[in-house]
Symmetry: C2
Subunit: 106 residues, 2 copies
DNA sequence: TGTGTATATTAGTATATATTCATATAATAA
DNA sequence: TTATTATATGAATATATACTAATATACACA
C-alpha cells in the first residue's frame, strides 16, 4: 500500500524543481524587480517610463526586464521603437500581491 | 473623490515594505533553504538529522536555520542538547508548497 | 542615405551570499 | 570535575548579484 507521494514522506526535491522554484523566488527577492512588477500590476509600461517613474537608469531597468522575461514573468509588445512590457504569470503576481498586502498596512 | 489606494494608481512601495517582501522571497530563493523547509513541511527535525538527510554540513544547516529563524519562518524547541526545528509561517509554507507543486510534475 | 529615439548588450566594479573550517558554547552524563 | 554530544558562531573564501557607463542595435522618418 503506497501513500500518495505528497503525503507522509518528504522525498528530497529533484534538481530541476529546485532550480525552477529557487529562480522563481529569486525574481521576487530584489527590491528593484519588486518595484517593476508592482508597476505592472495594472498596466503595461515602456522601459523608459518605468525608469522615469522609479528613478532608475534605463540600463538597470532593461537588465531586470531581461531577467524577468527569461523566467516568463513578463512579456512585451512592440510599437515602433517602443517596447511595452506587461506581466505574464498570474500565479507569481498573485503571490507578490499577497505578500505585499501582508507586509504593508496601508 | 479618492480611489481606494489599491486600485487605479500604483503608488511606489515604501522602503520597509520592500525590505520585508524582498527578504521573505529571498528566504525561498536558495536551494538549500528550500530543501530544509521542504523537510519541515510535515515534521520537526533536529539540526543534525537535517544535515544527514540532505548531505549537508552541520554548520551549513545551522547558518541557514539562523537565517530562517531571524525571519521567523522557523522556530525550535529544546530537548536536552538537541534542538528540534519546525516551520513557523503558514503563509510562506503555503507559497512554497504551491510553487513546488507548480514546478514539479510528480 | 543619414539622424533621432528607444532599447539591449557588454564589461567593469562593488556588494551580497553560501559554504567551509575551526572553534566556542551549552547541556548532559559519568 | 571531565568527557561527550549537539549546536552556534566567526573568519575566510569563492561565487553570485546588481548597478553603472559606454556602446551597440533596431526602428522610424526625413
Amino acid at each position: 500500500m503506497e501513500e500518495n507521494n505528497s503525503s507522509e514522506v518528504a522525498k528530497d526535491l529533484d534538481e530541476e524543481t529546485l532550480f525552477v522554484v529557487s529562480q522563481t523566488f529569486k525574481a521576487l527577492s530584489d527590491p528593484t524587480r519588486i518595484r517593476i512588477l508592482h508597476l505592472l500590476f495594472h498596466k503595461e509600461m515602456s522601459v523608459n517610463s518605468i525608469a522615469e517613474t522609479l528613478h532608475l537608469r534605463q540600463s538597470t531597468v532593461s537588465h531586470q526586464l531581461r531577467f524577468l522575461k527569461n523566467l516568463r514573468l513578463v512579456k512585451f509588445r512592440r510599437e515602433g521603437t517602443t517596447l511595452y512590457y506587461s506581466h505574464d504569470d498570474e500565479h507569481v503576481m498573485h503571490m507578490l500581491k499577497q505578500t505585499i498586502d501582508h507586509a504593508c498596512h496601508n
